[in-house]
Amino acid sequence: MSTSSNNKKTAIPQLVLRPEFEVSDIEQAQTSEVARKLSTLERIWNIDGVRKFVILLSLVVAWQAYTVGFDVEPLMLPSFWVSFSTLIRDLFYSDLIWKVWFSIKVLLIGYSAGLFLAAVLILWATVSRFGSDFISMATAMFNPLPAIALLPLAMLWFGLGTASLVFVLIHSVLWAVALSTHSGFEGVSQTLRMIGRNYGLKGFGYVWKILVPAALPSILAGMKIGWAFAWRTLIGAELVFGASSGSGGLGWYIFESSQNIDTDGVFAGLFMVILIGFFVENVIFRNIERRTVNRWGMQR
């Protein structure tokens, strides 16, 4: 073939043909175990809940052993068992449960009022540019201001009592929710907006049917942050003036116990705070997320 082609091309080197051969002495492949059955112990240890429970248990045991073994002054650090039994005692035989209920009631009022105001502000911001400017200005200014710093003013304006607690709670919820909802709305893609306009959605329908579902991950994030701020603010505020509103809340219980150097009472109050916080964050919000943004595939 090369001879018939153009002379200017270099000759293609001849292919070297090696004789075929067959290796006959390959041993059988030596593999270690590919899949080994786990022992029961290993399988139990692989369950997430078990490991976490063991960690929790060992923390409790370490605490108990430290306080008992080193004979720590119970005023400084009561043992786990004493704190826990104080919690049970105050919960069932004293009025701790009412104090908790009082805190939660105030929190719910403040939180829902804050959410409502945030919704009104956001609606205003979506329909007018002035509203949008106002929101971004107000959130930039008030979001970094800790709500608790307004407490002295609130006490002056609304007197001691639930009203001023609700006022600071609203302040702590409103700006966090408004900020993240507003930025969520601004991040809704142009395509989705145009679809909404194509369907003739306007005003409230447009916000409710297009913007809210599309921005739900950031709205939920804002609500979670708002809840965290509100919870912190409430406990902080009650540490000062829970008593003046009659029954007092959970924060007041902690404060009272610490004033009486009733340290096991302080720990019992902290247990309760952890329990409520854990419930709200890991049960309520987790479920809302699972039913909405996770199911809709907007967030892992």
Partner: protein, 299 residues
């Protein structure tokens, strides 16, 4: 078979009576006022000015008591007076030094925890158990205990600040590490990165947006906790003896106790100012130098 119907041919025609299209202005030059009011900063500034004017006019006309709502001008004078003759800046500095030391130590501890969590399964379990338990616990609720353990003073505040910083930072960093894509992890392992180097060179840059978010949340919790601690336990934690001065929260607390409401507002202005500076200047700068430059986050 069906017969194909004949194609109907319609006669061509020309519409002769269509008038010339009349359009409105397609592009109109904006007037000077319109152009000015389109500027972002002008609109925001005017909102601020309007709020201030409304405040001033309301407090002058309605005859509301100075103790309930001081005039804006009185507040501004009080701020100037506090800055120049009552060492307000020094108090702010006191607060900020406490805040920074708490924040820095908190970040170091959070880093250790997350590193342990990123490299071993046991560490990861410990971290997730602790954060699930302690993150919902407001740091301020620990202050009574801190006062008992560390006595009155900066140590107790720093302890509560630590608590308010560690959990959000560790939680966000851990979630960020978990969601680093498998591809990037395998690249890292391919390069033979292990342990601390693996965390520093691979996980931290890949999860930086999340880490930064944790740092921001940690900062806002710490700032709230600090102000609350100084305010709520004002007298009992600040060293108020001769020559020493407390922090910003203490200033607000004292002014309120003395019913100098204009000074309370001045203190609030200062709180807002510090917060705005940290959130918009410091964190925005960090964002623009890292995640936005690397194209990991829009805007």
């Amino acid at each position: 078979m069906d017969k194909i119907p004949d194609v109907l041919v319609r006669p061509e025609f020309e519409a002769s009576d269509i008038g010339k299209a009349s359009t409105a202005d397609v592009a109109r030059k904006l007037t000077l006022i319109e152009r000015i009011s389109d500027m972002h900063s002008v609109r925001k500034l005017s909102i601020l000015v309007i709020v201030v004017i409304v405040w001033e006019v309301y407090s002058r006309l309605s005859g509301v008591s100075e103790l309930i709502l001081p005039k804006f001008s009185a507040t501004a004078l009080a701020l100037a007076d506090a800055v120049f003759s009552e060492q307000l800046l020094y108090m702010v500095w006191n607060s900020i030094t406490v805040l920074i030391s708490g924040y820095a130590i908190g970040i170091v501890i959070a880093t250790l925890l997350t590193t342990a969590a990123a490299t071993t399964r046991f560490g990861s379990d410990i971290l997730s158990t602790l954060t699930a338990m302690l993150n919902p616990l407001p740091a301020i609720a620990l202050l009574p205990l801190a006062l008992l353990w560390f006595g009155l003073g900066a140590d107790a505040i720093i302890f509560t600040l630590l608590h308010s910083v560690i959990w959000p930072v560790a939680l966000n960093a851990h979630v960020g590490f978990m969601s680093v894509s498998e591809t990037q992890r395998m690249v890292g392992r391919n390069y033979g990165l292990r342990g601390i180097v693996y965390v520093v060179k691979l996980l931290i840059p890949a999860a930086f947006p999340q880490i930064l978010m944790g740092l921001k949340i940690g900062w806002s919790y710490a700032w709230r906790t600090l102000i609350a601690a100084e305010l709520v336990f004002g007298g009992s934690i600040s060293d108020t003896s001769e020559g020493a001065s407390g922090g910003l929260g203490w200033f607000i607390f004292v002014s309120q106790m003395d019913l100098r409401i204009a000074y309370v507002f001045a203190g609030l202005f200062m709180v807002i100012l510090v917060g705005v500076v940290v959130e918009t200047v410091v964190f925005n700068k960090i964002e623009s130098l890292t995640v936005r430059k690397w194209g990991m986050q829009a805007r």
